[in-house]
Amino acid sequence: MKVVLRNPRREVEVAGNRRVKDVLRELAILPETVLVIRGDDLVTADQVVADTDVIELRPVMSGGRA
């Protein structure tokens, strides 16, 4: 399956047919730090993503000090 990462935008291929949390663990991303987006929807960490899915892991951190 295809995973879209941001800042900078890039794509990686990982195995699908498993839970989102397993994908996050493989990519060493803490669940608290991203939105998991599939199409127009948010996906929770316990949901299984298909090998044909495309998901975006969008970082939620805003930086610098206001």
Binding site: R6, N7, L30, P31, E32, T33, V34, L35, I37, D41, L42, V43, T44, A45, D46, Q47, R58, P59, V60, M61, S62, G63, G64, R65, A66
Partner: protein, 300 residues
């Protein structure tokens, strides 16, 4: 995972609340948290206008969305920092947001006010870019509110922002910052407007989810100067603690506000006067903003 409210399929899990929500119920949860913040700290009333400082990012546009939807008399304020493409794009997001909803937006350019945009200020001062930028933003927000006759500025600071600021203050035990840190700062001088942070109860993942689910077109890219900022290292440290112990950030910030902040509030008020140059409030003769503008002028 099921929505805590309706039992339908959940869109978002909130570990620190030990809960999950579907999209509509999350949006309602989010707005209730903002309402609770406003109520608890008497931040806003519907009788008076509020200036919402917007950057084009998820937090400030989510805030503007909630306040406008809830019937507050909002005006947006966009401060154009002049940071290359980042500022061009973020301004366009704010203008599109305001236009689509028919909301008023005030734009001020830092370059017009200070004499140079943030990248030049950064070079001139040789300080971290967030330093001169933050100083300019705080000054210009307050002055814009006074000029527009608006008694309160709302900013999009979220739980993570506040926890990271607190973390930085605590690591160095900056007692003045600790005394000042609050979701709501009252006006302590006729030329200082009130400042409120209605998102302080919501994590940045929650504000991002709200903005996404509300289809708000915000700028996902980060300010190019934020890379390597200390506050980001502090957010990362807090995120690891949060991962090991959900609620850690919340407990850290709320415990401070409830139990420790009173210990730091100083008995004595600082002596506030007006800047000899611009007339805005300062503790010295010349305010920090005018000193910065002088420094930029000398270098120019």
């Amino acid at each position: 995972m099921k929505c805590r409210k309706c039992g339908g399929a959940a869109a978002l899990e909130l570990r620190r609340h030990n809960a999950a929500f579907c999209a509509p119920d999350f949006i309602e949860f989010f707005r209730n948290q903002v309402r609770e913040a406003i109520r608890r700290h008497r931040m806003l009333t519907r009788d008076e206008p509020v200036l919402v400082a917007v950057s084009g990012g998820k937090d400030s546009l989510a805030l503007w969305d909630v306040l406008a939807e809830d019937g507050y008399r909002t005006t947006g304020l966009y401060l154009d920092l002049g940071i290359f493409d980042y500022s061009v794009e973020s301004r366009a997001k704010c203008e599109a947001f305001a236009a689509a909803r028919g909301l008023p937006l005030v734009v001020r350019r830092v370059a017009d006010e200070v004499g140079a945009p943030v990248p030049v200020i950064k070079q001139v001062t040789r300080r971290p870019p967030c330093s001169g930028c933050g100083l300019s933003k705080r000054y210009l927000m307050n002055r814009a509110a006074l000029e527009e006759g608006i008694p309160v500025v709302a900013t999009g600071h979220n739980l993570d922002d506040e926890a990271a600021t607190l973390f930085g203050s605590v690591l160095h035990w900056q007692t003045e910052s600790l005394a000042r840190q609050s979701p709501a700062l009252a006006s302590s001088h006729p030329k200082l407007v009130r400042k409120v942070k209605p998102l302080y109860r919501l994590s940045e993942r929650e504000t991002a989810a709200y903005a996404f689910l509300r289809r708000i077109d915000y700028i996902v890219e980060e300010c190019p100067f934020a890379v390597g900022a200390t506050s980001i290292a502090h957010k990362e440290a807090l995120n690891r603690l949060e991962d090991a112990s959900p609620g850690a950030k919340h407990n850290f910030l709320f415990g401070f506000l409830d139990k420790a902040r009173p210990a730091f509030e100083r008995a004595e008020e600082v002596d506030l006067r007006e800047c000899a140059r611009c007339g805005q409030v300062t503790t010295g003769t010349l305010c920090a903003f005018c000193k910065l503008a002088d420094q930029v002028k000398r270098a120019g």
